[in-house]
């Protein structure tokens, strides 16, 4: 990335920080697909994914004043957005757990689980894992964050991240292989949906 590009990004962030809507839209668009990917990967429903993505983008816009151009705008904003999305989803899950007893019983869940409607892709298997392992896998393997970055984002040690990745990937493989053994062949399964 050239110095000119970096300078342009810093100026863009400053304009966004000053409240210029066009600049805010430009910043948000630059990272939108990344933010939505991570939100979809970790959330358990579309509504949660939307909310996490929105909170993440807002957090980026609110932090624009601190962008100095040390990294690319995408890298810098991506880290902020990931943290914000993680925080939001963690809070959501805590609230859901806390209010589980209050939720009335319905014929269908208020937010249908996505795996009911989607083809059985990797996301469905990931959601069978413990949250901590899933988060570590998504951040490291899907989004390319280093072990140290994942450790920082999830506020655990590097070794803990390594352990979660090792256990999570092993469990994931086990799930996939078990389904391949006992379920229909993958092609048939896809075709039936």
């Amino acid at each position: 990335m050239s110095t000119d590009e970096r300078t342009a990004d810093v100026q863009l962030a400053q304009r966004a920080a000053a409240g210029e809507r066009a600049a805010q839209a430009a910043v948000a668009r630059r990272i939108l697909s990344r933010v939505r990917r991570i939100a979809r990967s970790l959330a358990t429903s579309a509504a949660d994914a939307d909310d996490a993505a929105q909170q993440a983008l807002l957090e980026v816009l609110r932090s624009c004043h601190s962008f100095r151009g040390d990294a690319t705008l995408e890298q810098w904003a991506g880290r902020i957005a990931n943290r914000a999305a993680l925080r939001h989803l963690t809070r959501e899950r805590k609230q859901q757990t806390a209010s589980a007893d209050e939720v009335p019983q319905h014929a269908a869940p208020p937010h249908p689980q996505l795996s009911d409607e989607l083809p059985r892709d990797l996301r469905a298997y990931l959601h069978a894992l413990p949250e901590a392992q899933r988060t570590a896998i998504v951040l490291h393997h899907a989004f390319g964050h280093s072990l140290d970055e994942v450790a920082s984002m999830t506020e655990v040690s590097r070794n803990t991240v390594k352990g979660r990745l090792r256990l999570g990937v092993a469990a994931l493989r086990k799930l996939v292989r078990r389904e391949q053994r006992i379920g229909a062949p993958a092609d048939d399964a896809e075709g039936s949906r």
Partner: protein, 268 residues
């Protein structure tokens, strides 16, 4: 070094497929930019959610404190008791003011003879900071209303802080107090989504219907999709089918259309 799950596990496409029912990119961006626009001048470093309340609660506290002193005086208590009673009243009133943040601040009408003739109690004078706004005039039944923009912002702040209950309460307050404002109109969609998330599809349906019954609004697709989700959660397949068909007739080019068509097939 962690083992990379290369061969059999491909993470490259993870999260790239839109989820059923999610907002399309433009709607999501519009939400974010609208929320950001609600923080004029403060987006650089938005303080935690207390900022909205503090700007107007403080004058209310001061006003109530003064009134409490006036009431005590008017009841002509002996001066030796006066100081003690006033302090007690102030302490007992203060928490109520904070509790009232979710509703109108209604300052009770002072008795006609309540004109204070002496200095207010020391606790009130001790405030080192000038009030951000002039103190409210203790006129009969003064109502301090928050603007719809600030109420919307307060709701969004509560949501951002993870307090869905407070967010819902503030959105409702906005609709109740400024029913004709654009912010209240948009808030109905937010209320619907929060109700749906809280497992109250009936309430969600009412809110989405209220939005859709009014003309105009940039969130009609989202409200319609929310309505469909609410009908599904309520176990009303006929209504859900009709709602999907109506949606597809009006918004066949929407990003939601594909998965709604699939849902429609499964209903038939």
């Amino acid at each position: 070094m962690t083992d990379a799950p290369q061969d059999d596990l491909d993470f490259s496409a993870l999260g790239t497929m839109p989820l059923p029912g999610e907002l399309d990119d433009e709607a999501l961006l519009a939400n974010v930019l609208d929320a950001a626009a609600g923080d004029p001048g403060e987006i650089v470093a938005l303080p935690p959610a207390q900022s909205t309340a503090s700007a107007w609660v403080r004058p209310a506290v001061v006003a109530l404190t003064l009134l409490a002193a006036a009431v005590v005086l008017a009841w002509a208590l002996p001066s030796s008791v006066w100081t003690f009673e006033t302090a007690t009243d102030v302490e007992s009133l203060a928490p109520d003011v904070h509790d009232d943040v979710d509703d109108d601040v209604v300052v009770p009408t002072p008795p006609p003879r309540a004109t204070p003739q002496v200095e207010p109690p020391r606790e009130v004078e001790a405030s080192p900071e000038p009030a951000p706004e002039p103190e409210p005039d203790p006129a009969p039944r003064t109502k301090a209303r928050v603007s719809p923009e600030n109420q919307l912002r307060a709701a969004q702040d509560a949501f951002a802080a993870g307090d869905r209950r407070a967010a819902l309460a503030r959105y409702r307050q906005l609709v109740r107090q400024h029913p004709r404002s654009e912010q209240a109109h948009v808030a109905k969609v937010s209320i619907g989504r929060l109700e749906l998330k809280a497992g109250h599809p009936k309430a969600a349906l009412r809110s989405f219907d209220a939005y859709l019954d009014a003309k105009g609004g940039s969130m009609r697709r989202e409200a319609a999709v929310g309505r469909i989700e609410a009908l599904r959660a309520l176990g009303r397949p006929n209504d859900e089918r009709a709602a999907i068909e109506a949606f597809l007739r009006s918004h066949g080019d929407s990003a939601y259309a594909g998965r709604l068509e699939r849902r429609l097939e499964s209903l038939q």
